[in-house]
């Protein structure tokens, strides 16, 4: 986002750069401006608060979830606590999932979990950041519960037929976090190295964790 302030090596025309900020075209974009300006004028919200909230959002990313998963891979006791009471376990690592129940689900050689929110877009944002567009799409929401294997194939993820696939549907009060299977030959890797193998999609269950070389298996 900040290439403008951090990358001054290349030459660019600042006038043209400003035009990259798109002008509102749609009714709803004008509506957003109107609501925001009114709320600020009436002292319901301040511009500063909105800006701070946007910055707070940008700090949320899947890395937090990955730290939790990496810990569960190296510490069985932690994993059991995570499976037992997600909220309490992630609090040990300094994460809070406010007023929602956090349920961790472990993928094994026999069982693969995949998360969807068929009714809207419920997602563990505090741990994984903002959901990807496809998670909120009509297609994913419709198909994930009916033909998960076909959906997984579209994601390039092949789960053997012998493995049961369990699709869980999020609710407004409950968020799921998938613990992907720890890849083979990673026994000697540090927790920090393991974090890099744990992708956002592997914690949604539409992919597996990366292999020991950081490649998709």
């Amino acid at each position: 986002m900040n290439s403008h302030t951090t990358d001054h090596e290349h030459e660019h025309d600042h006038t043209v750069f400003q035009k990259d900020i798109p002008e509102p075209k749609e009714d709803w974009e004008f509506l957003e401006i109107a609501i925001r300006e009114l709320l600020i004028e009436k002292n319901v919200l301040s511009a500063r608060e909105i800006q701070d909230e946007i910055e707070a959002w940008e700090k949320k990313n899947p890395e937090k979830g990955a730290e939790i998963i990496a810990r569960s891979w190296v510490d069985d006791d932690f994993k059991n606590r995570l499976l037992n009471d997600g909220n309490k376990a992630v609090a040990e690592l300094g994460f809070t999932v406010e007023s929602l129940k956090l349920v961790a689900l472990e993928n094994t050689d026999e069982l693969h979990h995949m998360v969807v929110c068929t009714l809207c877009s419920c997602y563990p944002r505090t741990l994984l950041g903002v959901p990807p567009l496809w998670y909120k799409s009509r297609e994913y929401r419709s198909r994930a519960v009916r033909e998960p294997r076909a959906v997984l194939r579209e994601f390039g993820t092949t789960i053997p037929d012998s493995v049961e696939i369990r699709v869980v549907d999020s609710t407004a009060d409950c968020r799921y976090l998938v613990i992907p299977k720890r890849p083979a030959n990673t026994e000697k890797m540090s927790e920090a190295e393991l974090v890099k193998l744990i992708t956002r999609d592997s914690m949604i269950g539409t992919a597996e964790a990366l292999d020991q070389d950081g490649q998709r298996s």
Binding site: W28, I35, V44, L45, V151, E154
Partner: protein, 107 residues
């Protein structure tokens, strides 16, 4: 005969999943931020269930054709009116003012 809710998509036939991603626009970020602030303490103007209720009661065609954050801003508008935080008249006036201002800026 039951009438399925517009939001109740689970199990319906649908096409392939477009997995392209995009950086959220400023408009989307601001809608998201305002929604969080209005719902969170200390304001607590509404709870997430009310947010869902307003999204789910959008006109079916609006729901189907609108962008994700478009649905959010429409829901935010109904809740702000419903809770008496803004009035329809002041909002209409503001929208036209913003439109003419942005139009002038282009000339």
């Amino acid at each position: 005969m039951t009438t399925r809710l517009i939001s109740d998509l689970g199990g319906l036939p649908a096409g392939s999943i477009d997995r392209s991603e995009h950086e959220p626009t400023m408009t989307e970020r601001r809608i998201d931020a305002m929604m969080i602030l209005l719902r969170a303490k200390p304001r607590s103007f509404w709870v997430s269930d009310e947010n869902r209720r307003t999204i789910e009661s959008l006109e079916p065609t609006t729901y189907a054709e609108s962008a994700y954050y478009e649905r959010w801003v429409l829901a935010m508008k109904s809740l702000l009116l419903e809770k008496g935080i803004l009035t329809e008249a002041e909002l209409d006036e503001k929208v036209s003012e913003v439109r003419s201002r942005k139009q002038l800026a282009k000339i």
